[in-house]
């Protein structure tokens, strides 16, 4: 059997023009597919960055909240209600909002400010420099060192600037697991200082972070929160909700779908047509092989192997090229949001399998129809 597959490989690979066209076509299609879906995955991951970085098991919020960035403040009384619910181990408020930093050179920079619960500092980032307790100090803020950090002129511990006309001092530098979507630096401070520094509406609590006593308590807490008119989502459910918003309620999902469909059609048409013409060119030879004594099953195996080989080679090259592109882009643009996930790879693999299947299906049909007698008859 290995000999027959080697024969199939040589028949295909020695036809360098078609072989190259097939590989390039599939590589290009896979590259586009993976690139598009990787960008989308990057955007989705960034859109839920706050949820991952804070790390709470459950989030209580207004039912109208669609993403973690568009907070709808809740009254403080909700916090007390949640704390009194059965199954709640603890619940703390968190503030999430935007501020304007006046830098030492007089320019302004928008920032995201996270206000951590004063008592517990729940959701605090991992410190790189300084101590987390210093956040309680006068005008204390912790700057997150990420790709946006430079927009604050990379402040060191002790640096000072103004936030909404209030003096702010960097007391520590920290790292979070995921960068944000909107390209602005992030500062952490206490909940009360955030309220003090930033203009507020009547209600102030952005979210209530809840830790249940056990996983079994989650449905009970959700039901109890729902009775108050609010909603409690697990971390995964909140991430899903945010993803669904960007996928279905913005143009991102549609554009991704269109680009992926175009990549698929381009790949299918180039490789399908090239592979079919390869089969047509060799049709009489395949008929001769049948006459010599090759069975239809062996011929089908040869064609499937040829289609599978070019498809998987193109798949490998396409994903490799995409990974290289992302690596190169990140080297130049630290904030470049693209992630190749297993789902991206599986989706592209699925499309490649369809391309290989459709391409070989037409070829297999023709080869199965050709009769050795047709070769004799000429």
């Amino acid at each position: 059997m290995f000999g027959i597959l080697r024969l199939a490989y040589k028949l295909l690979a020695n036809d360098r023009t078609k072989f190259t066209a097939l590989i390039v076509g599939i590589t290009f299609a896979v590259f586009l597919m993976v690139q598009m879906t990787a960008m989308f995955a990057g955007v989705l991951a960034r859109s839920s960055a706050t949820v991952y970085n804070i790390g709470a098991t459950m989030w209580v919020m207004d039912p109208a909240v669609q993403t973690v960035a568009n907070t709808i403040p809740m009254p403080d009384t909700v916090l007390d209600q949640v704390r009194s619910m059965p199954g709640v181990k603890f619940a703390v408020p968190i503030y999430s909002g935007g501020g304007l930093v006046k830098l030492p050179d007089g320019t302004y920079q928008a920032v995201t400010i996270m206000g951590l619960d004063d008592d517990t500092l729940f959701g605090r980032p991992r410190m790189l420099e300084g101590r987390i307790e210093d956040i309680y100090g006068e005008s204390g803020f912790i700057a997150v060192v990420d790709s946006e950090y430079a927009k604050l002129h990379s402040p060191e511990v002790g640096a000072e600037f103004e936030i909404n006309d209030n003096r702010a001092r960097i007391v520590g530098l920290a790292k979070v697991s995921s960068n944000g979507l909107f390209g602005v630096p992030t500062l952490y401070t206490t909940y009360n200082r955030a309220l003090q520094y930033l203009p507020n509406a009547r209600f102030t609590t952005s979210y209530i972070l809840v830790e249940p006593k056990s996983a079994a308590d989650i449905p009970r807490i959700q039901a109890a929160v729902a009775r108050t008119g609010y909603v409690a989502l697990t971390r995964d459910a909140f991430v899903r909700q945010i993803s669904n918003f960007y996928t279905f309620q913005t143009g991102i999902g549609t554009n991704l779908l269109m680009m992926s469909a175009i990549a698929f059609i381009v790949g299918l048409s180039i490789s399908g047509q090239t592979f079919y013409s390869f089969i047509l060119e060799n049709l009489e030879k395949f008929g001769a092989l049948k006459a010599i004594g090759m069975t239809s099953r062996e011929l089908v195996l040869m064609i499937l192997f040829q289609a599978g080989f070019v498809s998987l080679t193109g798949y490998g090259l396409g994903t490799g090229l995409c990974a290289a592109m992302i690596w190169l882009a990140r080297a130049r643009l630290p904030d470049y949001a693209s992630i190749i996930t297993y789902a991206n790879l599986l989706l592209a693999l699925g499309m490649v399998v369809v391309i290989a299947g459709v391409s070989s299906w037409f070829g297999v049909r023709r080869v199965l129809r050709i009769e050795p007698f047709d070769i004799f008859r000429g």
Partner: protein
């Protein structure tokens, strides 16, 4: 039908009552009608006749690539049309060698790889098959062309490569379709002379479809067909006898 006197040779092929038609209803055409003959080991049997006389159809049925509407073909006592499709393909692979009119060599493979195809299909080791192909290329005088693609060979050389491919599985029956049609006169004669002297042996039967009367002298017997029927069988080199 007149059968000529033959020495006591074993029967390689026995065809009985072969009939084949194409089309349906008003378009139905009977290509071969009730053809019976025997071919023997150690002989070259030419099948001749005008275009449309049913030579190719008859030979296709005899060589197991076109199922007859009626009749029976036995090759070395094996009723080939009682076999299933895969078994018949396996039988052809081991027992019958084909040399097609247009050779049907793969232009993207080397000459040696083309010759090795039947052994590769037989699942023989690749290197072993290529080595064997070199041996058969040596027999047909083309060992020095083993690593070039067939497109770089002359028509006569391609014909010899096709013969080597047909021979490599050491079949008992060889079928040639118009072997001299695309060759000049001298090359055609040389090829058939080569077949006569180097390919034929006591265990092998060779069937050749041809229009080329210049090579009739190489036949042991000549089977003449017209309108789908055998009209006579004559000794080689002589004029075809008609009933």
């Amino acid at each position: 039908m007149q059968m000529n006197d033959q020495p006591a040779r074993s029967v390689a092929i026995r065809a009985e009552g072969l009939t084949k038609g194409f089309g349906e209803g008003e378009t139905y055409t009977r290509a071969v009608s009730d053809v019976s003959f025997e071919a023997y080991h150690g002989e070259i049997l030419f099948v001749v006749g005008p275009s449309g006389s049913g030579k190719t159809t008859m030979l296709s049925m005899v060589s197991g690539i076109l199922r007859p509407d009626a009749g029976r073909v036995a090759i070395e006592e094996t009723d080939i049309w009682s076999m299933g499709t895969d078994a018949l393909a396996h039988f052809r692979l081991h027992k019958i060698g084909f040399v097609f009119q247009d050779f049907h060599l793969f232009p993207r493979l080397t000459t040696a790889e083309n010759v090795a195809i039947p052994l590769i299909v037989q699942r023989r080791d690749w290197n072993e098959a290529i080595a064997e192909a070199h041996r058969f290329l040596d027999i047909v005088g083309l060992l020095n062309r083993a690593d070039v693609p067939p497109v770089k060979l002359s028509g006569g050389e391609q014909q010899r490569v096709a013969i080597a491919r047909a021979l490599i599985a050491q079949p008992d029956v060889l079928v040639f379709d118009e072997p001299t049609a695309s060759l000049d006169g001298d090359t055609g004669r040389n090829i058939i002379n080569f077949v006569r002297t180097q390919v034929l042996n006591d265990h092998r039967c060779i069937l050749i479809i041809t229009h080329d009367s210049r090579i009739f002298e190489f036949a042991d017997r000549i089977l003449n067909m017209e309108d789908g029927r055998v009209t006579g069988i004559a000794n080689g080199g002589s004029h075809v006898a008609h009933e």
